[in-house]
């Protein structure tokens, strides 16, 4: 396998899944081409100005910025459906329509969903 698509469809902070998938994607960088896809509630990870101090956990968007070479795609329809389209998103996120999102999955050698 030379590429992996990590798919997150859970909201950040509600479980360990978002943190886990970011870590898994991050350690895969350098070994393979990596895309992190934000789908459904995973789209909330794309929001800028997250403040997780009250939860006592790291700001997951800040962790994404550490891995600038990571390609992060947010499923546009998921973003729109959650009323996030007018909100500020983190800079490194690319919005992808249905076709582009699916194409990115198809172009990857494996799909990993946590």
């Amino acid at each position: 396998m030379r590429s992996a698509f990590y798919l997150l469809d859970s909201a950040p902070y509600g479980s360990e899944k978002a943190f886990g998938i970011i870590n898994a994607a991050a350690v895969s960088l350098g070994r393979m081409e990596v895309t992190l896809g934000l789908y459904g509630d995973g789209a909330y990870l794309a929001l800028a100005n997250q403040n997780s101090k009250g939860l006592g956990v790291p700001n997951l968007a800040d962790i994404l910025y550490v891995y600038g070479e990571l390609r992060v795609l947010a499923h546009e329809f998921s973003v729109v459906k959650r009323g996030l389209f007018e909100e500020e998103l983190i800079e490194m996120v690319e919005l992808a329509d249905e076709g582009d999102f699916l194409e990115a999955i198809e172009d990857s050698d494996c799909l990993i969903l946590l």
Binding site: M1, G20, V27, S28, R31, M32, D109, L113, L114
Partner: protein
């Protein structure tokens, strides 16, 4: 020989994924080198002393797979967070023999050498 990697991330008994993974690995071992990577709550699966009332003992299933050549690794960060700590050789006193605790970096290592990847997570 081709390589199959199975990724699990849910805890034991909350779903049938561990048993499904066992059946897939059991069949695949005839033709594939099989890796299983245990991530997040799945690091509980090899715990010794399980006594489920209605299901097969998942720890024993995984120990059986390692006896037959499968490589089973658990994420060290996830394991430590849940109270499992590795000995120098990666074994864990709380685990059945076979599965080992190792770095998350083993995941991309496994993926990069795999011909097929199956991710079983809810």
């Amino acid at each position: 020989m081709k390589t199959l990697t199975i990724i699990l991330a849910d805890g034991p008994y909350i779903s049938e994924y561990a048993q499904i993974a066992y059946k897939i690995a059991d069949a695949a071992l005839k033709r594939y080198h099989v890796n299983i990577f245990l991530y997040l709550d799945a690091v509980h699966m090899p715990r010794e002393g399980q006594n489920p009332s209605f299901f097969a003992n998942e720890g024993e299933l995984f120990a059986d797979l390692t006896e037959r050549g499968a490589v089973i690794r658990a994420c060290s960060r996830c394991a430590a967070a849940r109270g499992y700590f590795a000995n120098e050789d990666g074994s864990c006193k709380d685990y059945y023999d076979g599965p080992k605790i190792s770095s998350l970096y083993d995941l991309p290592e496994m993926l990069s050498k795999s011909d097929k990847v199956i991710c079983l997570c809810r």
